[in-house]
C-alpha cells in the first residue's frame, strides 16, 4: 500500500514560490531565515518531510504544516537544524571560563548562591556535558559551589538524544583518554554511553531563542554559551535573540559566541571582554540606559 504513495511524493514539484512561502512561514514561527542560496539544503529537507507526511502535493504539505497537524512544525524545525558536533569543541572558551570568567563571577556571589551556566542551542548535548567535564577536570573549586548546567534547544529530537547520552566515537575525538575512560562506557565498537551521573548533572529543556515567552522562563545565568545559532538568523531576529539573551544573564554575566560571530555588530548592550583564551561579551554589572 505505502510504496505508491512514496513514489508519488518523490515526483512532487516544488516551485521557487513554494519555497519562498515555506521560508516565510518558518521565519515567522522560528526566526530562522534561509535565502535562495540554501535552496538545495531546503529542498532536501522539505522532500524528507513531504515523504514522511505522505502528502501528495506541496499545497497539501503546507496545509499540514500551517495547521501544525501531528506537530509538523516541530518535525520541520528538527529537519532544518544541523546537529553535528563533538566534545571539547572550542575548548579555548572552556579554558577562559575557568581562567577568567568564574573568578569574576564569584566576586559577586553570596555564600550558597548557585553558579548557573546555559548552553543554547545545546544540540545533542556535547556542549553542556563538555562544560561539566571541563569543570570537574580543570577547576579546583568545583565542589565548593552548586553548579547548575542547563542545555536548551528548539529541536526536540536533539534534546532526546542529549538526554539519552549515546554518542558515536567520532564525538570523542578531542577528549583525552582518561576523560573518556572516566565519563563514558562503551556500548560497541562505534558507540559509547555517557556516565549516568554526568547525564544527571545537566538539565535539558526546549527553548526558542527568539520567543520572548520561552526565554522569560530563563533568568539569572552567569555564563551563556550560544554558539553558531545567530548565523541562522537575519538581522532583526539576531538582535531579538541577543536582547533576549541579555535578559537571561545576571548583571556581570558573560556570553560566549561561535568563533565566526561577533556581538558588536548585533547589539550594543554588551561589553566586549578580550581575555587571553577568548573574546567574550559581558552584560555590564550596572545596567545603563541604552535608549
Amino acid at each position: 500500500m505505502a510504496p505508491p504513495e512514496v513514489q508519488r511524493t518523490r515526483a512532487i514539484h516544488v516551485t521557487q514560490e513554494d519555497v519562498r512561502r515555506l521560508c516565510e512561514f518558518l521565519y515567522r514561527r522560528t526566526g530562522m531565515s534561509f535565502d535562495d542560496n540554501k535552496r538545495y539544503y531546503i529542498d532536501r529537507r522539505l522532500a524528507e518531510r513531504i515523504t514522511a507526511t505522505a502528502s501528495n502535493s506541496f499545497q497539501s504539505y503546507f496545509a499540514t504544516l500551517r495547521s501544525d497537524a501531528e506537530h509538523e512544525i516541530e518535525h520541520l524545525v528538527n529537519a532544518f537544524t544541523v546537529n553535528e558536533t563533538y566534545f571539547y569543541r572550542e575548548d579555548h572558551q572552556l579554558r577562559c571560563m575557568v581562567s577568567n570568567l568564574l573568578d569574576d563571577i564569584l566576586r559577586r556571589k553570596t555564600t550558597g548562591e548557585s553558579i548557573r551556566i546555559w548552553s543554547i542551542p545545546c544540540s545533542t548535548g556535547e556542549e553542556p556535558y563538555s562544560i561539566a567535564m571541563w569543570l570537574m577536570e580543570n577547576w579546583s573549586e568545583v565542589d565548593k559551589y552548586n553548579i547548575e548546567i542547563v542545555g536548551s534547544d528548539i529541536d526536540t529530537r536533539a534534546l532526546k538524544a542529549a538526554a539519552d547520552g549515546v554518542y558515536g566515537t567520532r564525538a570523542l575525538m578531542r577528549l583525552p583518554r582518561h576523560v573518556i575512560e572516566r565519563y563514558f562506557g562503551r556500548i560497541d565498537g562505534n558507540q559509547v554511553r555517557i556516565d549516568p551521573g554526568l547525564r544527571d548533572s545537566v538539565q535539558f529543556t526546549r527553548v526558542n531563542l527568539i520567543d520572548a515567552r520561552d526565554m522569560a522562563l530563563y533568568r539569572d545565568f552567569d555564563i551563556v554559551f550560544c554558539r553558531n545559532v545567530l548565523i541562522y538568523f537575519d538581522d532583526a531576529s539576531r538582535r531579538i535573540a541577543a536582547e533576549n539573551l541579555y535578559d537571561c544573564l545576571r548583571p556581570g554575566g558573560y556570553i560566549c559566541l561561535g568563533h565566526s560571530e561577533t556581538m558588536s555588530r548585533i547589539s550594543t548592550l554588551f561589553r566586549v571582554c578580550r581575555f587571553p583564551d577568548a573574546i567574550v561579551y559581558q552584560r555590564p554589572e550596572a545596567d545603563h540606559d541604552d535608549s
Binding site: L135, E141, V142, D143, N146, R182, Y183, G197, L198, D200
Partner: protein
C-alpha cells in the same frame, strides 16, 4: 591491571556520598571509584538515612547545607539509630569554615571535617584513612 590493584588497596570499602549537587556527587564519586572504593549516593539526609538503614557502609561523606534534611540533622539521626548503623563514621565536607561550624559538626557526631574545595588527592587520603584502607 591498575584498577584491580587499587581495588585491593581500598579493600572495596563502601562509601556513601551525600550532597545535593549532582556535579559534586559526580566529582567525589569519580575520585573515589578511581581509587577503588565502592560508592553509593544520596541527594539529602532523608535519602541517606534510607540507604544506611538498608545496606552497610564503611563511611559516609556528607555535605552540611542540603534541602529537606541537612547534613548535621542527618548525623544526629544516624547516631541515634540502632547499632551498627549508629557507629558508621562520617566525614563532613562543607563550605562552612568557622570554628563554630566545626564545633557544631563535632557535637552532632561527625568524625572528621573538611572545608571545600577539597582536592581529589585530599579526598582519597582522608577517605582511605577513615575507612582504614590506607597503606
Amino acid at each position: 591491571m591498575t584498577t584491580v590493584e587499587s581495588n585491593r588497596d581500598a579493600g572495596r570499602a563502601r562509601v556513601l556520598i551525600v550532597d545535593d549537587s549532582s556535579l559534586v556527587r559526580l566529582y567525589y564519586r569519580e575520585t573515589l571509584e578511581g581509587a577503588g572504593f565502592e560508592v553509593e549516593q544520596a541527594i539529602n539526609g532523608i535519602e541517606a538515612m534510607e540507604k544506611v538503614l538498608a545496606e552497610p557502609f564503611d563511611l559516609i561523606v556528607v555535605d552540611v547545607n542540603m534541602p529537606r534534611m541537612d547534613g548535621l540533622s542527618f548525623i544526629r539521626a544516624l547516631r541515634s539509630s540502632p547499632s551498627p548503623v549508629a557507629a558508621v563514621p562520617t566525614l563532613v565536607i562543607t563550605t562552612e569554615a568557622s570554628s563554630q561550624d566545626r564545633e557544631d559538626a563535632r557535637a552532632a557526631g561527625a568524625n572528621f571535617y573538611l572545608v571545600k574545595p577539597v582536592s581529589d588527592a585530599d579526598l582519597r587520603r582522608h577517605v582511605a584513612c577513615l575507612t582504614g584502607t590506607s597503606r
